[in-house]
């Protein structure tokens, strides 16, 4: 299992691009917006991965840490050694998801919600984000006006220049069946489908710990649980 971590890491082409020789200067952490807010330090992650210490890398896969990165890639712009800590994070996340470590952290368990929202939206609707799938219950940050907007979307859309569910060019248009089929086959061929199954599988295993199965309630529960122990 542990050997597999290192193998998976090294065979990922993004890993080779992301990390060559970190000199622990801290420029990435200094510019990282996530590091300012969360208990998060991209430099340390580079350092741990660079150390090749498999126990520590395994700890990372189990940790909250790797889920704090916002994938903004600001770190890429400044690293004096040409590393990309944000991309290293993407590799660690993928391994954590594939091997099931993600369910061992609060932020990691939320991957289920992302898979079921943005992830499935791509396949089912052809959109990552479309008003139909931004459930007001799941997105309190949208404010009360959002529910009103959803309830009145047919009337409001034309006023905003959108072509809600129409088969023509423009925002919020319907995506044709051909295109959706194509997206599905891309997901199948590239392993995306398999990857989604793994997230469901490990989540339902974990749900047993909470005397539950990985149903909607479980998803909402992991999505909204906040230990309050993530920020600096």
């Amino acid at each position: 299992m542990k050997i597999e971590i290192i193998e998976k890491l090294k065979e990922d082409v993004r890993y080779k691009e992301a990390l060559t020789a970190c000199m622990n200067c801290g420029v990435c952490t200094a510019i990282c917006p996530a590091a300012e807010f969360y208990k998060y330090d991209p430099r340390t992650i580079c350092n741990i991965v660079q150390s090749n210490n498999v126990d520590e890398i395994e700890d990372l896969l189990n940790s909250e840490t790797i889920w704090y990165c916002g994938q903004c890639m600001s770190c890429k712009t400044r690293c004096p050694r040409g590393n990309v800590p944000g991309m290293l994070i993407t590799v660690l996340r993928k391994i954590s998801q594939e091997m099931g470590y993600f369910v061992n952290s609060e932020k990691g368990r939320q991957q289920l919600a992302i898979k079921r929202t943005v992830g499935e939206n791509i396949i089912n609707a052809g959109y990552c984000v479309h008003p139909d799938i931004v459930d007001p219950d799941l997105h309190p940050e949208q404010g009360p006006v959002w529910r009103w907007f959803i309830n009145n979307i047919k009337e409001v859309s034309p006023k905003m220049g959108a072509v809600y569910h129409q088969e023509t060019a423009g925002a919020l248009r319907a995506i044709s069946k051909d295109t959706l089929d194509e997206i599905k086959s891309i997901f199948k061929v590239t392993g995306g489908e398999e990857f989604y199954k793994k997230i469901e599988h490990f989540s339902s295993e974990k749900a047993k710990d909470f005397q539950s199965n990985a149903d909607y309630d479980y998803m909402i529960k992991v999505y909204t649980t906040d230990s309050g122990d993530h920020t600096r």
Partner: protein, 334 residues
């Protein structure tokens, strides 16, 4: 066509020292200097690390040493052509004067890294961001500056940085920052002085001791972390962002004056001649024949190199290298 035993291109510390040594061997030497005065980059510094020696006095001594009949100096002079003809090196300068010599010593030195290339540090954007070279002028009293309450030194500007194409360490900036931090503290005893570094490379004689003194006697704070950016504040100060890598914590610091410790690069003249003679090596510095055994020789017969045109050096190292070059040239001429 005037003939010399050796023509030295560059009248900085390396060129001057080599000229003095060669003249003692009774060789006729011409120094060609592009600037209106001798001294090279020595002219940019007020006091020298690690002993706060006066650079003016050093330069004065170096010039005294070449005041003899064997040494001629041509200022304001650039090189137009260098060619080998029958074992002699012929030079045409920008005034169309022609000279020849059996040996040429290239002592064309370094240029200071242009800090505006690291745009994120705001040099030439925010007036309170200056370079170590600018600071020398404040320390010498040549330029005046409002008394700063908080001064931040930023190391490795233009060095050890893939983003500007310089992977190398400029070697002198660490100790120079320690020297300047102490001088700032002496000039403004009430100021707080911080120095952000990645590693402090205190390898030279009494460098480490000076570093300790800076911490112990002058209360200068050293923080391990490379600065990622400098930005303006509403009150006309600047804020620097870094990580304190020993505490694994991002930090911000507001300062009245930020000093960028600019590194060294091959000078324009070095790059140009390197291309002309095809003896350019890494980062366009001259490449010596063998770093261990023949460090003043090049692959061209009769072309010698010395000082910071070859790689980053301190002044004492440059002088020793120039002395060694003079010895090599003397052997070659005899």
């Amino acid at each position: 066509m005037q003939h010399f035993d050796t023509i030295i291109i560059g009248g900085g510390p390396a060129g001057l020292e080599a000229a003095a040594r060669l003249s003692k061997f009774d060789k006729h030497v011409l120094i060609i200097e592009k600037d209106p005065a001798l001294g090279g980059k020595l002219l940019l510094w007020d006091k020298l690390f690690p002993d706060f020696a006066s650079s003016e006095e050093l330069l004065h001594q170096l010039i005294e040493n070449i005041k003899n009949d064997n040494v001629k100096v041509s200022l304001n002079t650039g090189i137009k052509e260098i060619e080998n003809e029958g074992g002699l090196w012929n030079i045409i300068d920008n005034h169309n004067n022609k000279y020849s010599a059996k040996a040429l010593l290239l002592a064309t030195g370094f240029d200071v890294f242009d800090a505006s290339r690291k745009e994120e540090y705001g040099y030439r954007i925010y007036p309170n961001v200056i370079t170590s070279v600018d600071l020398e002028k404040i320390l010498s009293g040549e330029v005046s500056h409002a008394e700063p309450k908080k001064v931040v030194f930023i190391q490795c500007v233009g060095s050890r940085d893939e983003k500007v194409g310089n992977h190398f360490c400029s070697k002198n900036c660490c100790i120079c920052a320690v020297k300047q931090a102490i001088e700032v503290k002496e000039m403004y005893p009430n100021s707080e002085v911080y120095c952000f570094y990645m590693d402090l490379r205190m390898f030279g004689e009494s460098y480490e001791e000076l570093y300790r003194k800076a911490q112990q006697d002058y209360g200068i704070t050293f923080i391990r972390g490379r600065v990622s950016e400098v930005s303006p504040t509403y009150h006309g100060q600047v804020q620097i962002k870094a990580e304190d890598t020993l505490l694994s914590r991002p930090i911000r610091l507001t300062a009245d004056l930020v000093v960028l410790m600019v590194g060294m690069e091959a000078s324009e003249g070095t790059v140009e001649i390197g291309k002309k003679l095809q003896i350019g090596g890494n980062y366009d510095y001259f490449k010596s024949k063998n770093q261990h055994l023949a460090d003043n020789l090049t692959y061209l017969d009769g072309i010698f190199v010395a000082g910071t045109s070859k790689r980053q050096m301190s002044i004492p190292e440059t002088m020793k290298d120039a002395a060694a070059a003079a010895l090599e040239i003397n052997n070659y001429l005899n």
